[in-house]
Amino acid sequence: MPMAASEIESLIKDAMPDAEVRIDDLRGDGDHYLANVVSSAFIGKSRVQQHQMVYEALQGRMGGELHALALQTSAPDAG
């Protein structure tokens, strides 16, 4: 079952309140998203750790009802 972009955004913000989240619906089908997440919580974390933090925020939906979510994560003012 597809997930709404707004639901993805609010789950991420619940876990990382300072996060700036931008969600693109890549195919307009409500099933293939790109999430760009910028948060100070990522400072000092590896890419793998940053993505794991987002997956944790999504509480197991990734790989389940959320089929395809490409992730771009970064700390503020970095890269």
């Binding site: 890419r47 993505h51 990734m62 790989g63 389940g64 992730l71 771009q72």
Partner: protein, 112 residues
């Protein structure tokens, strides 16, 4: 955790292959666009890699997700270390960091 037979198989795969890709399908016939993208990048970079097709092996499919604490496939391991999934591999490749990592870890690359 170490007495779990699936984890033991995953550990063996990772130990026996300097570059090990858990994917959907095979390098010749990937069954998923994300897996295909990683295969294409690895071929382009010129490293030899082992692969496991999670679609024919549901135990590994579930097991690798728990093992890595990562919800999706493909998953790339280099010298026993989890490097990332499709997004991270693509990002590293585009930044030139992937080749650098293989060189730093002493993984042989054939000239493309």
């Amino acid at each position: 955790m170490s007495d779990n037979p699936v984890n033991e198989r995953i550990k063996t795969d990772i130990a026996q292959n300097d570059v090990m890709l858990f994917m959907k399908g095979t390098p010749v016939f990937p069954q998923c666009g994300f897996s295909a993208a990683v295969v294409q990048i690895l071929n382009h970079v010129g490293v030899k890699f082992g692969s496991a097709d999670v679609l024919v092996d549901p135990e590994i499919r579930d097991g690798i997700k728990a093992f890595t604490n990562w919800p999706t496939v493909p998953q790339l391991y280099v010298k026993g270390e989890f490097v990332g999934g499709c997004d991270i591999i693509r990002e590293m490749f585009e930044a030139g960091e992937l080749e650098q990592m293989f060189d730093e870890k002493g993984v042989a690359r054939e000239a493309a």
